[in-house]
């Protein structure tokens, strides 16, 4: 038992170091990658547009649950009219960025890891290197940028649909006054609430895309290795997202 501990720790440190170095290389290559907007736009489409359905559906249901639970809770204190505020703040600051990041890791992150891992396994990345094309610039950087740009957009859509879901339940089903719902929301939600959610989703975008691209790029070039890398992407992205969420929430409050 004691024999496995140092190796686990050193493996963790090694991984963190390799990811950090990879991030540094990635950021350097982002500038030339931006010079080819077509590659980045393709990746925004892959990571963003293709995740839209799952994000919108989840946003709707999360908003509806928020409407039900929020109404039940607020009714106990006789302040049902605050439902709009509660739903909007909960979605914007917390639920939208976090759930979007978790769904992104499962939907787009795994796709990124397995795609890049398979490119590694079939020598495509090596072939690029031999053709004097840096695969970090051509493959990794556009995918990373695509994820970073897509995440805040997806979180924003999640918020809007979620708020619509909460309104649907609160106003249509539970009978909260529509005017009160929206005016309360408008008066209590400030720009800093929106920016808190935005900053979170950008940070989650960087973390999840980095993990997905790094795992794929360094996957063992076998079927088992790519499968393992894909699993690690989901696990690592989820844990890192929740950890970062706590740190940032503590910082913002």
């Amino acid at each position: 038992m004691s024999g496995t501990r140092p190796s686990l720790l050193s493996e963790g440190v090694r991984r963190l170091g390799s990811t950090t170095l990879f991030l540094a290389g990635l950021i350097i290559q982002c500038v030339p990658a931006l010079a080819r907007p077509r590659l980045v736009i393709n990746q925004i489409y892959n990571a963003g547009a293709r995740s839209l359905v799952i994000i919108m559906l989840s946003g709707l249901f999360v908003g509806m649950v928020l409407g039900l639970q929020g109404y039940d809770l607020l009714r106990r204190f006789g302040s049902e009219e605050a439902l709009g505020t509660a739903a909007a703040l909960g979605l914007l600051r917390e639920l939208a960025p976090v759930i979007t990041a978790l769904l992104f890791a499962g939907r787009a992150g795994t796709a990124l890891t397995s795609e890049i891992g398979l490119m590694r396994a079939t020598d495509q990345l090596t072939a690029m290197e031999i053709m004097a094309v840096d695969p970090v610039r051509y493959v990794a950087a556009p995918r990373f940028l695509g994820g970073v740009i897509a995440m805040p957009l997806l979180a924003a859509i999640f918020s809007v649909i979620g708020l619509f879901g909460a309104q649907m339940i609160g106003v249509q089903l539970m009978g909260v006054d529509k005017g009160v719902f929206w005016s309360q929301t408008q008066s209590s939600v400030g720009l800093h609430d929106v920016s808190e959610g935005l900053i979170k989703s950008v940070v989650f975008g960087i973390a999840c895309s980095l993990i997905a691209v790094h795992e794929g790029y360094n996957a063992t070039p076998t079927a088992e290795g790519v499968g393992l890398a894909t699993t690690r992407t989901v696990v690592a992205s989820s844990v890192v997202t929740l950890l970062l969420d706590y740190v940032m929430t503590a910082e913002f409050l």
Binding site: M119, T122, D123, Q124, M128, I130, M131, A132, V133
Partner: protein
Amino acid sequence: MVDVRDVHYAVPGGREIFSGLDVKVRRGRITAIMGPSGAGKTTLLRLITAQISAARGQVLVFGRDLASLAHAEIYQLRKRMGMLFQNGALLTDMDVFENVAFPVREHTDLPEALVRLLVLTKLQAVGLRGAFALSPGELSGGMARRVALARAIVMDPEVLIYDEPFVGLDPISLGVILRLIKQMNRVLGITSIIVSHDVRELASVADDSYLLSGGRIAATGTPAELRASDSPAVRQFMTGSAEGPVPFHYPAPDYATQLFAADES
């Protein structure tokens, strides 16, 4: 052109692959690197293309020591090389045309009409101009290798490296690849390095050959000279015999001891 001098290399796990390897590839010739599986043929290619670096000794490509070159200089050097991978290594998210056009688009700013001309002439050279719109998934193994060959020569490299070009091909595809390798060398004057263990095919194209064994060069010369060698190791490899200095069995404990030990447990 390529000069490997007294190279030592061990894999990160510790097993030594090369202990004092010397290989010289001369301009305009087809050089064959032969050897049994696991002799380090692919490792040698990775050394020559600067994917890995030697622990000791020098690898000179175009007269320049790879160990002394910066990342950017290695990329500059690689623009003068082409490499054909065993499985083709075509980019799966592009069609055949775009695959061949890829290095041109990455390294030059040529107008689209010129790119088209370049790509189509190279595809014509490998006989696959008609397949330009197919995706890599629709190609047979032999076709994929020919598309990869077109991609490897589209930038007119000075050195072309073939990694096991004959593996898994039907006799017709094999004949086509052999003819193309000769053609690339004779018509375009491309220096070629072929890594393979297919002795018969190599003998028909190679000008020089090296036989790798036990981390160093076991024999060198023209294919005919190798066949006439009296060294038992060389003879065993050239004739494909199971009996000889290279054992059939992986090192193992005594047969009977191991069998009965399993019984007792």
